[in-house]
C-alpha cells in the first residue's frame, strides 16, 4: 500500500476520532442542556464525516473503483443532525428546562417559548 495513502487515511481516522471524543466530552461536562446540545450535534457530525472520508479513500484505493456507499451515510448524518437538534431544543423549551446565567441568548428564549408547539 502506498505510503501517502496510508498517511492520509491515518490522519483522517485520528482526526475524526478526536472530534467524536470532543463532542462526547462536551456532552458529559457542560453545565446546561442548551450548551450540552452543541457538542454532539456539531463535533460528532464533523468527526463522523472525517471517519467516513477516510473509509472512502481506503476502500477506493483497495478495490480500484470509486466507492460511494460511505458518502451516503455522511449525507444522511449531515441532513438529520440539525433536525434532531431542532426537535430536542423544542422539547427542552416545552419542558421549561433551566437556563444558566452564563448561557448566551437568554433574551430569545421567552419569545421562542411563547410560540406554538409543533
Amino acid at each position: 500500500m502506498g505510503f501517502w495513502i496510508e498517511l492520509v487515511v491515518s490522519v483522517f481516522l485520528v482526526l475524526g476520532a478526536v472530534f467524536v471524543f470532543i463532542g462526547s466530552l462536551g456532552l458529559a461536562k457542560l453545565p446546561d442542556f442548551y450548551t450540552r446540545l452543541h457538542g454532539p450535534t456539531k463535533a460528532t457530525t464533523l468527526g463522523m464525516s472525517c471517519l467516513l472520508i477516510a473509509s472512502v479513500i481506503l476502500v477506493t484505493y483497495q478495490q480500484g473503483y470509486l466507492s460511494l456507499h460511505e458518502l451516503l451515510i455522511t449525507l444522511f448524518l449531515l441532513i438529520t443532525a440539525p433536525i434532531t437538534a431542532h426537535m430536542l431544543a423544542k422539547t427542552a423549551f416545552h419542558h421549561k428546562l433551566e437556563i444558566l446565567d452564563k448561557t448566551s441568548g437568554r433574551a430569545l428564549s421567552k419569545r421562542a417559548r411563547e410560540r406554538m408547539a409543533p
Partner: protein
Amino acid sequence: MLTAAIVIATTLVCISLILNFWRLYRGPSRPDRILALDTMYINSIALIILFGISSGTALYFEAALLIAMLGFVSTAAMCKYILRGDLIE
C-alpha cells in the same frame, strides 16, 4: 501506521461511548437522556465503520446505514412523544 491509527481511533470512540452512557445514566432531564442516546447511536456507527476498515470488508456499511436511519427515526419519535404525548394524532 494504519493499524496504530485504528487502535487509537477505536480507543477514543470507546471512551466517548462510556461518557455518553454516563450522561444517559446521570442526565437530570428527559431531553438529556434522548440526546445521550442519539449520540450513542452515532458513536456506534463510528465503531462499526472502524471495525469494517480493520477487517477489510465492505459488508458493514449497510449495517451502519440501517443504524443511522433507525437512530434518527427513534430520536424523532421520542421527541414527538415527549412534546405532544402521542405519536400519530
